[in-house]
Amino acid sequence: MKVFRVLKPGFFTTVQDLGRYGYLRYGVPISGAMDMFSLIVANLLVENNPNDACLEITLIGPELQALTKTQIAITGGAISPKINGQNVPMWQTLNIQEGDIISFGKMESGCRAYLSIRGGINTPLVLGSRSTFVRGGFGGMNGRQLKTGDIIEGFDSPSLKVEHKMPEMLVPQFTNHIKVHVIMGPQADMFTEKGINTLLSNWYKVTLEADRMGYRLEGPLIEHKAKADIVSDALLPGAIQVPKNGKPIIIMRDAQTTGGYPKIAVTITTDVSLLGQAKPSDIVEFSKITVKSACEKLREHYKLLNNLSEMFIRSR
């Protein structure tokens, strides 16, 4: 079913779901939404499965023309969505009529917004996921970002009568100062105590070299004990590697799956989504946490999503 025609693609708009799992051993990154939380909520607001594919909008939104009646929701960074030029709220179900034009204003906070379509976006599954991996040229819309003239297909949905709103107090407020929790290691022992304290007690700035692969950070240099190279081992989103120059790099969702720099720490799962809303010149601050406390946070996070899902379904 044709749902939207792309009139303008925006700065960098891709199809993403929760990612591609099981292929790291073949060198295939996980990909998927940079901010998983916002993608899941976008799906829940239109009663989709949490893993359904959405549009991930980066900094400048696209312009879309509806080719059918549908329902959507927009979450993530505050980007002032409009239907036929009229401002509409984020974090709630929106009704779209055939011919409606959806456009966006300035990204006022955060970096990425998510647009879900009732029923989910229909692109072919590639290695079990619809996520676009641009560098590999597969997934999503033929392995690339949207371009003018693209038609976005959706699955048929049983009804267009859902109506949900994220409770105001649960809407995340994205700021340009992002505090994340990290678990030290696996190669923290390659850094001096001073080096570790440097990471944990200073602010780091996201540089212009920041995309779906990772963020290079600027700030006080982190000291290695001796060598700054390791024989390559695996990488996962959230890992913080420090090359010889002492400047940390945060690995994100489209990064290569192996790397030869030591990893001083790894961002906890729930906070990787917060990093997904970071843009150049934002500040990142790291604090350390134990594996056990990180699991508590993860449990709370899933509980919140479960509660939301139940609340929406009960309200039908």
């Binding site: 073949y26 040229g137 597969f138 997934g139 696996p186 695996a234 594996v291």
Partner: protein, 246 residues
Amino acid sequence: MKTGQHTPTRYLPFGDNALLIEFGDVISSEINRKVIALDEAIAKAEIQGIEELVPTYRSLLVRYDALKVSYEQLVFRIKNIETKLNKLSIEKAGRKIIIPVVYGGEYGPDLSHVAQYHRLTEEQVVELHSGREYRVYMLGFVAGFPYLGEVAEQISTPRLETPRLKVPAGSIGIAEKQTGIYPCEAPGGWRIMGRTPLRLFNPLQQPPSPLKPGDTVKFEPISEKEFKITEEAIIKGAYTPISKEQ
């Protein structure tokens, strides 16, 4: 320090959803054999909560669902498996896969440099490169890129000072003692020796790569004409890569 044989295995948290098992910090087939043996043994044990295993040169990453299994439980279970690894499973040979290659010319623009660098003829370099079997240590860098080792000392060559912006798909390169195959066009600094018509990565196939860590690769020199015939057969879907269980 050569083999890291006596380095004890290290179990390290990798964030809140993965465990990294380090066997050493050197490139050695002995270490990589342990990685692959443990990878296979864990997969066989079907431990609840494990989502994915990522073998690399010298470590095994275990990605897990922290709501289904705790870090401590996982370490306990895997340590138990590790102690039971026997010589047989560690020394088990993987599959052997033949990779046809056109060496030199436009297919291998750095072959002449590698020959000059080592004061060898191009033929001698080809003989040395195709004259031995290589272990697939891991896949990484770009999807489907196999890290193979180790090349003969006589042809071990440093990377290009300025990497190329585009290396064609199928290119076979050398970087120090490693050799590898570019599955798709990518930027890269490896010294390009030749090109294979085989496709090393196809996301529409299951599995997406014909090679896996632990396999053995042997390069077979072919002519430009054979390259074109094989390439055509691959496009028509009429080519099966040669592989055999050892």
